[in-house]
Symmetry: C2
């Protein structure tokens, strides 16, 4: 029998307890042994959680219990969780976590600490989709060329509704908050930080590359309007918040931002709160994984799968996919050297000569324009919607800066990258 202690019994923790109870028979048959929760640790013991497990408000009840084989860390946060998980490993326990922030900051230290212990974290990326499993085991024969993921359900829900129902960002954010899809402070989701944490975890498995959230390009979806969506529709694009890891030579790009994606791509077809991750391997080609990226049961499904895996085989694979990092390794590509196609929305005073002046700035910076669309806006202004051919980030930022300073330009242009 495998005994489990859960630290943090909120929505996901309660679902873990419930799944182990509901699916007890099939889980035992698959794991080859019974898996039981011996103790749950919570901050507030007075709250009735409707669960028939022993609860405590003292973490040491789990850490010091020699009978507990696996600690499930669901407390969230970074520093305290790191200390707790470290202690659990030192005390010889296996660890399962759903904590993406913990891993975004401490995964390499944890890999070292867990050298001879099982440490699993399937639930930390894309909830119930077994993407860690696929990337670390299923695609292990491949050099990974790229990972392109829709890994934040809140953003995908909002963008899908903006496209399908024509509502504004502000209105759909309010609705998402009322539905419980977005937090009261939605910054972590709509600013791209949640997706960035997940991307860093996947990038370590794919490339063995170390980076912190501070090191990579992270943009959100706050600037997207119906003008952008009408441009997208006109040219056969969808708009998604993408988390992208891409290898080019001995450099790896890591970036999170909104992107226009051709509607024919599979990743463009993932709508609503669902997540989807496209992984291209040098041998397997494109594979894609789709499912619920959040929610108690979907996330707990991944936690329990890790418990079953540890029950079956203990420590069976390197935590981040590599037993030893590759010599030399890959470097993070500086943001200003990244290349992309770009879309710019420029709000200008509607007067003669504006387009000529603007396009000459693009030409001087050697940025080649692909399409131009002019739409009337309010108050005698006009929106110029311009897309470019492949250009360098440094050059487009310079163009945006120059354009912002023109007297007939009403506000800083909005830029969205176009996925090739």
């Amino acid at each position: 029998m495998i005994k489990v202690g859960i630290i943090g019994v909120g929505t996901v923790g309660a679902s873990v307890v419930q799944i182990l109870k509901d699916n007890q028979e099939i889980i035992s048959a698959r794991a080859g042994t019974e898996i039981v929760v011996k103790c749950g640790v919570v901050r507030d013991l007075s709250k009735d959680r409707g669960l028939d497990i022993a609860l405590s408000d003292n973490i040491n009840e789990i850490l010091d219990d020699a009978q507990i084989d696996i600690v499930v860390e669901l407390m969230g946060g970074v520093q305290e969780a790191f200390e707790v998980v470290k202690l659990a490993l030192q005390k010889g326990k296996a660890v399962v976590t759903a904590n993406k922030a913990l891993l975004a900051y401490h995964r390499y230290e944890l890999q070292e600490l867990a050298a001879d212990k099982a440490f699993e974290y399937e639930a930390s990326v894309a909830g119930g989709i077994p993407i860690i499993n696929a990337l670390r085991d299923g695609l292990s024969a491949n050099h990974i060329e790229s990972i392109v993921g829709i890994m934040n359900g809140t953003c995908n829900y909002m963008l899908t509704k903006m496209i399908q129902d024509g509502v504004s960002f502000k209105d759909i954010l309010k609705e998402a908050q009322e539905l419980g899809y977005a937090e009261a402070d939605p910054t972590f989701d709509i600013g791209g930080f949640d997706a960035a944490h997940k991307l860093l975890i996947l990038a370590s498995i794919a490339y063995g590359i170390d980076a912190k959230p501070e090191d990579i390009l992270i943009e959100g979806i706050e600037h997207i309007t119906q003008d952008d969506i009408s441009f997208a529709k006109e040219f056969g694009y969808s708009i998604k918040l993408l988390a992208i890891a891409r290898r080019m030579g001995d450099e790896v790009e890591l970036r999170v931002h909104a992107a226009l994606i051709d509607n024919s791509e599979m990743i463009a077809k993932i709508d609503g709160v669902m997540n989807g991750i496209s992984v291209v391997g040098d041998k397997v080609g494109e594979t894609l994984y789709y499912g619920a990226g959040a929610g108690g049961d979907a996330t707990a499904s991944a936690v329990v799968a890790n418990l079953i895996d540890i029950a079956r085989s203990g420590k069976s694979k390197p935590m981040l996919g590599f037993n030893k990092p590759l010599e030399g390794g890959l470097k993070l590509k500086p943001v200003e050297q990244m290349e992309s196609k770009y879309y710019l929305r420029i709000n200008v005073r509607d007067e003669t000569g504006v387009l000529a002046k603007l396009t000459s700035i693009f030409a001087d910076s050697k940025i080649s324009i692909q399409t131009v669309l002019q739409r009337p806006s309010k108050d005698e202004s006009a929106n110029l919607l311009i897309s470019t051919h492949q250009s360098c980030e440094k050059d487009i930022q310079s163009v945006i800066k120059q354009i912002s300073q023109l007297d007939f330009v009403n506000s800083t242009p909005v830029m969205i990258r176009i996925k090739e």
Copy 2:
């Protein structure tokens, strides 16, 4: 160092050798050890395969070599492959196979023979998509409610082209054969048998249910015409060859047939030669896996992933997902008791009273009609395209039989099931 012997060095075998060479460094870093091919066995030694491995035409060179740890079986066929794999296991070797026919017939015997040996077969279903991995490990916390897969690239390519380009079945079959997507004798693919073999493997992992191809409903795509496709387009459906496993109570449905699928479903969006498998778990909800289902490199990607997995952890999980089958277990649902919505194409002489007579047969059999579309056909005949509400297979078969016997009906009606 892990030493491998490959029995059958055709397209996939050559790709396995090539991947182990091309990606040697990253594979060693992931496996924690080097994986080398010591010997390949082929039928015809005189053929130049351009590979720098030792070749033999004697299977015993692999089976009797105590240095070889893993036997990769890529010879195909059922009975001879079974004997070879059995011998390999008896001689203490781990086995990796891509042979779906072998598993469709002998997987439970193999699971017993491999009780204490690693036996892996990721490449046997959907080529490079790690679906065995996902189903057996990633979703192990779930009762599987359904598996709905597009698992034959030949059929999906042909149906996609028929829908997109309006070509006939006969013409697209010829094109697929010229492109190498279809065999000279295409029966195994277009008759649904290939998909059925794969379905049986997945059904064992999901449900622990034993069945042979002969036990389940297998239909192909040979009967599909542009009339059916125009109906599908009119009502927002796509047409796909689906392999379906579905649990209802203590029964499991297993069936392979063409189906009309609502265009909003993810599985309807998988086009061309690609494969996709939707798996619904009771806790995780719907997940979907997409990628190349065939081709040397994609299939070999899965074979090599299995080699890495065995190098990492040896025998770490039960071959078919269950350490012990569930007591009692689930039963195969008889075909005549299955339920579905149906579409019928009935070619009739274009004369008065025909529709009244036909619809009365439906009414007498208590089958409720959902839509009727009448289209002119050649030679003063008409095509009646009728879809029904949820009905029982026994009843629809009885209706088809009655309709076939009417004097104004020109040929046996064509039936396509509609996926709810």
